[in-house]
């Protein structure tokens, strides 16, 4: 009886406030979709960072007879002593991964050059001696590279220090900006949704003020009075969150799995797991957005 009454009150309330309920559902849908999209973008960026940063190493190219550079003596190869100092500096740097320094000799560089340009006439234009020696350095944390670069860039015998991060960083900062933009926009919308839910509940409480007054008078418990409102808000929020999940899942399926993954196979792409995770986040935020404003408004308007 008790629960049947609460349930019928909830349905009654939802029907009575149909237009407001629809408005809440749609606001929830759009804002939670945007929020979920932010979460997905975040995961996509993380995936790409993980894949690329793993491969990134810093290349410290050393002087040859033909190279020019501030630390090179014209017409001279780098000396053994200089190589020793550079190697020492790299190996003792805390930001360099343990055993992360690898020396690439002229012969190895030449072999790599030949495989890279196999069958190309350019192969014959260079000799082993013209190749450049280099240190390949792996970092313990790929995000921290400036320290290593500045430690060796000024050493004698170093022609140039090449770091791929320099090219990737602007790309990632754009992605970050996009992702934060999405999250901030969704936060504003979610805040609006929370206010809307609070107002809807306030209107519903006002519409039922006679009943509520009598319930309080005859000694209905607070929980009993509050539950229909809470259920109303939670049901709207769950429908909104469900729609947002469907939107996100189909977005991932049609845009990522069907299109992007097929045309750009070299990149890692988010898939079902990330979509599920985003759905979970959306559901939790949706529920909180329903419960918190409802409790605040009912506390204010249904006080004993």
């Amino acid at each position: 009886m008790r629960f049947r009454h609460i349930f019928s009150e909830t349905l009654h309330g939802l029907r009575r406030n149909l237009t407001m309920t629809l408005a809440v559902i749609m606001t929830m849908w759009v804002s939670l979709s945007l929020f979920g999209a932010g979460l997905l973008a975040n995961q996509q960026v993380d995936l790409m960072k993980g894949r690329w940063y793993d491969k990134i190493e810093i290349s410290v190219f050393l002087c040859t007879k033909d190279t020019r550079g501030n630390q090179c003596s014209p017409g001279q190869d780098v000396t053994e002593a200089q190589k020793q100092v550079i190697h020492q500096t790299l190996a003792s740097n805390p930001e360099v991964a343990p055993d992360g320094v690898y020396f690439e000799s002229k012969a190895e560089a030449f072999a790599e050059f030949r495989t890279a340009y196999e069958g190309n006439p350019i192969q014959d234009s260079l000799t082993v001696d013209q190749m450049q020696e280099s240190f390949r350095v792996k970092l313990s944390n790929p995000e921290q590279y400036e320290g290593v670069v500045s430690a060796v860039a000024g050493l004698p015998g170093v022609q140039t220090v090449q770091d791929l991060r320099k090219y990737l960083d602007p790309f990632f900062s754009w992605l970050n900006l996009l992702q934060w933009g999405t999250i901030i926009a969704s936060a504003l919308l979610l805040f609006a949704a929370a206010l809307q839910i609070g107002n809807t509940i306030r209107l519903a409480a006002f519409a039922r003020r006679r009943e509520i007054g009598i319930m309080r008078l005859v000694g209905a418990s607070n929980l009993y009075i509050t539950l229909p409102f809470l259920f109303e808000a939670v049901i709207s929020a769950l429908i909104g969150a469900g729609l947002a999940c469907v939107t996100l899942a189909s977005g991932v399926y049609f845009i990522i799995t069907k299109k992007a993954e097929v045309s750009i196979q070299s990149l890692p792409w988010i898939g079902r797991n990330q979509a599920l995770l985003a759905c979970g986040g959306v559901a939790v935020v949706g529920l909180l957005l329903a419960i918190i404003p409802t409790l605040i408004t009912t506390r204010k308007y249904l006080r004993v």
Partner: protein, 228 residues
């Protein structure tokens, strides 16, 4: 049953006390009229018993419990022992007479078979048998007040509080309502009725507590409305 010990109540933002230094003791099964001019503190007196307001000073006991010390989550249980009737009936216009009475039981979680059995009984008691399926607007004022009394009494409370229950009714109808309240009182229910109706008070010859400017100026058993 109801005891006030040195009770004062000052509403927020007001300098004048609505009640000051009230000492009253009402026994189980008593019938008490609460009289006094508008603004004398009658409503505040009733609100303190219902714990809609808290005493600023002093102690209010209802059925042995001190209300100021009562946890807010225990208030609903306390209110189930008090039935309340108002001048404006406060019926739900979209529910039938039976549904109005049943509502009071539903919302405190009484099982459906009990409600089915008890509601016709109480409608019979207040003289409304056969009118359970009517809507409130189809009834006269006196009948509507009977529905309200049925709703207040259906849970067999220990205390019935009536705030000007005859205020909207003509004298003849009022007599009927008073007979009903008297009958309820005889089933050992404590009745506390605030009223302006001197005829009724004079006829009934029950205990009268008079408030003036927030103070008890008279507490007289078998009293009348005004001084004689």
């Amino acid at each position: 049953m109801i005891r006030f010990e040195g009770v004062s109540k000052t509403y927020d933002g007001q300098r004048r006390a609505a009640l000051s230094g009230v000492d009253v003791d009402i026994e189980k099964g008593e019938f008490v009229f609460l009289v006094g001019a508008s603004g004398s503190g009658k409503s505040t007196f009733l609100r303190l018993i219902l714990r809609e307001q808290r005493a600023t000073k002093g102690k209010v006991f209802v059925a042995g419990r001190e209300l100021n010390k009562l946890h807010s989550w225990k208030i609903p249980a306390m209110r189930r022992q008090i039935g309340t009737v108002f001048q404006d009936f406060r019926l739900l216009p979209n529910k039938t007479v039976s549904e109005n009475v049943a509502f009071a039981l539903q919302v405190i979680g009484k099982p459906a078979p009990v409600i089915k059995k008890v509601v016709p009984e109480v409608l019979d008691l207040v003289g409304l048998d056969g009118k359970g399926s009517r809507m409130p607007e189809e009834l006269s004022g006196g009948e509507q007040q009977r529905v309200a009394i049925a709703r207040a009494f259906v849970n067999r409370p220990m205390i019935l509080i009536a705030d000007e229950p005859t205020g909207n009714l003509d004298p003849a109808t009022s007599v009927g309502i008073m007979k009903l309240l008297d009958r309820i009182n005889r089933s050992d229910t404590t009745v506390l009725m605030a009223t302006h109706d001197s005829t009724i008070v004079d006829q009934m010859r029950k205990r009268v507590i008079e408030l003036d400017d927030g103070e008890v100026v008279r507490d007289q058993s078998r009293g009348v409305y005004g001084y004689q």
